[in-house]
Amino acid sequence: MKRTLSLLLVALLLLLPLSAARADDAQRIYTPDGLLSEDQHARLEQRAEEIFGSRGVAPYYFFDLNATELIPYCETFIREHVSEENAIILGLSAKQYYFAVIGDAASAVLTDDVCDNVIYPPYSEVRDDPASKILAYLDAVDAALQAETTVPVTQAPTENDGVKHYAVDQMGLLRETDLDALDERLCELSETYRCDVLAAIVPSLGGKTAEEFADDYFDYGGYGYGATPDANGTTVNGDGILLLISMEDRDFAISTSGYGITAFTDYGILNYIEPSVLPYLRSDSYRDAFNAYADRCEELLKMARDGRPFDLNRVYTPDGALTDSQWLTANEAIARVYDSSDVALYFLYDPDATDLSVPIDRLIGEKRLQESNAVVFCANETGSTFRLIGSAAVSKFLEKDRNAIANDVTKLLRSGDCYGAVQTFVNSSTTVLNRHPLNGFLIFLAIVAGALFAFIPVTAMKRQLTDVNQKFDADAYLTPSSFLLTQNSDVLLNTHTSRSVHVTPQSSSGGRSGGGGSFHSGSSTHTSSSGGSHGGHSGKF
């Protein structure tokens, strides 16, 4: 008795790591013990994982001889095992089968009809071993999902019913009600700001790049506020912005056109729209992503309407105080300072401000200031103030520095020399930034190096005192020219050639880091296939 008990214990202990290892990965195939070999099971899990990876729907399978009521059993199964948003579950008991489909995207494709007439027959028809049966089921799910995703590609984006759609979802990732609400919101925005704000989810790019696809979607779809489509329904240079998402390889693109290029600058797209939208896309929260997109677009359109499109700019002065070239020179100088010291300088001059913290708060509130280390100087007619952001700025700009700079700059501002004031601010601040970091560590290194190098001459002098050394060679006693090489042959033993893929060093494409690098403002544009000019940015999420 005792013996059997201990045997049982050993068996249990042996099982323990096995079940633990399985629980680590997402398990989707559940069968009675012994039905599938370890190997077969791993292969099926891998196939299920592939389907989930490529189609976004997780296929599950369970077979339990003891299950009596399949529907409640399946509900429990889903609660305990299914974590994905979209999934299909085929459950079997001794007598019957049951399909459960969860998630909007999965439900749209895997209807009851599809489950019973497309997916189940291949499963029931295979009469071989259980592994082949389950594989047939997985393949059928894959085929059904694939058929659904490839069908709409051929359809033109907006030709459905002649109605102009601002939000389009060809994948069924959004709920009907959410899509309608978003469409309405974008339509309203477009009318208010006289600039089309569009969003679209498509299954694939049909061989184009995301940027090309987005530009063509915009132009050939007849979008763009105020542009009249030609006979083919194509527009050129209409005002608008489009956020396009392609699910096949998880591409996204933002394309701007007409007034959209002005309102949505490169800097604005990279630093204002994308940081708030991309995290939602990455976590497949498409409704939240589009809402964030609509919010950011509204804010940027409002700023543009107020005459200050969101762009990289660190010098804010009243209209006419600086010429365009002076403004550019000042921004470039500040960009250079930022490159070398990692501290961004901001110059705000607002003669009408009564409270000097208001313009600074507004700057930060509108996210025009994004750097972690910044020195913001704000002045009005009567006085000035500093705000230091980040430890690098705080540690370097001492009170006496701030007072001295404020003194000089306000004097110049009062005398009406606005450019001189900006120059003085930038130059003095640069001096302050460069003055303190006299690297104590470098000096320390220099002294250590001096201490070490000093050993060289003194050791040489010390060595003069010791000339008694044992000799270990007999070079002096080798009779000159007596060394005769009687054999000198190199026998090739073997040759081994290895091959590896040639990697050409590539320079990473820059410009992604917020605000860094030299100063570039405005929008870069390119020409689309319809001849229209577009701005924007694309990438993967």
């Binding site: 020179t329 300072v337 010291s341 900006v422 120059q423 930038v426 130059n427 640069t430 001096t431 460069n434 003055r435 006299l438 690297n439 000096i443 220099a446 002294i447 250590v448 190096a449 001096g450 201490a451 000093a454 050993f455 003194v458 002098m461 010390k462 003069q464 005192l465 010791t466 000339d467 008694v468 050394n469 044992q470 000799k471 270990f472 060679d473 007999a474 070079d475 006693y477 080798l478 009779t479 060394f483 005769l484 090489l485 009687t486 054999q487 000198n488 042959s489 190199d490 026998v491 090739l492 033993l493 073997n494 040759t495 081994h496 050639t497 290895s498 091959r499 590896s500 040639h502 990697v503």
Partner: protein, 369 residues
Amino acid sequence: MAQLLEYKCPACGASLQFDSGSQQVVCPYCDSSFSPQSLIDYDAFLKQDAANANSETWDKDPEHWEKDEASGLNIYVCSACGGEVLGDDTLASARCPFCDNTVIMKRQFTGEWKPDLVLPFQLDREHAMEGFRKHLFGKKLLNKAFRSESNVQEIKGIYVPFWLFSSDIRTNARYSGTRSRAWTSGGYDYVETSRYALLRSADAHFERIPVDGSMKMNDALMDSLEPFDFSKAVDFQTAYLSGYFADRYDVDAEKSVERARTRFGNTIGRMMSSTTAGFSSVSLETSTTSEHNNKREYALLPVWLLHVSWKNKLYTFAMNGQTGKFVGNLPLDKGRYWKLWALYALAIGGGLSALIVLLHFLGMGGGCL
């Protein structure tokens, strides 16, 4: 090709086969292939290597003195250190050349091994004193007090017993070397590594490697006196000893030859590996040396020994009695050593710091409008 069938693969040791298609001998296990000639070379080398184990022997002991030759010589025994030296009657009141003790006892010389050669003294006591003065000259860290306070206790001319070893050395060495070349083609990087067996045999002759045969003499001090010009050596005559001490060997030839072996072994090793240039990596696999036409000579070489006492410590200097080469370690002035070090450290560290500060201020201009 019959004899080739017996060859073993130099790379892996498996039996080789002749491939008539490529006219090469191939190893079926490691894919190596060899030209028949290279295998014959390799095999010949291995046989030669095995044969090379046999060195010829060295003569054991030198000849005895003739009876009457030794008649004018005495053995002086130091009562303090036990050192024994040979000398004629002129040295009766001498001090011990090893420990500088004055009490020295004379004993009748009764016949010993006779040296083959002697290198007569060419420089005298005055030269030795002069050599000592020059030795102290121009040494910045020499303790200043040593120059003025040190006192030369005794200067002794001694014939130091040396063994001179001459031999033809035959060496076989096998190195393994690799050579690599890399190229890019069709989108791939290729690296081809070829492994070679480098077979080297060489003969070399070493002439009269001197090894100090006196236990009392410091080996390093004697080595430092080299080189001696043996072309001036003459057959031993008792007359040369007159007025000088002569030490007797107490390390025999058999023991001394080991030091000579180490020395020519190192030289040969360096010479051999200098013939393996042109490979990206080379390592020695095996090496054998054998000694032939060995000649061993017992020689007395002239050395001036100076004992200098300073601050209760004895400093020993030696001068080559033939060439005047003067050697001997001198006391260090520690205070001066650290003072100079601090001076240099200050100059170098200060200079570097100044440079850093200068660059710092020069670099401030960046970013200005």
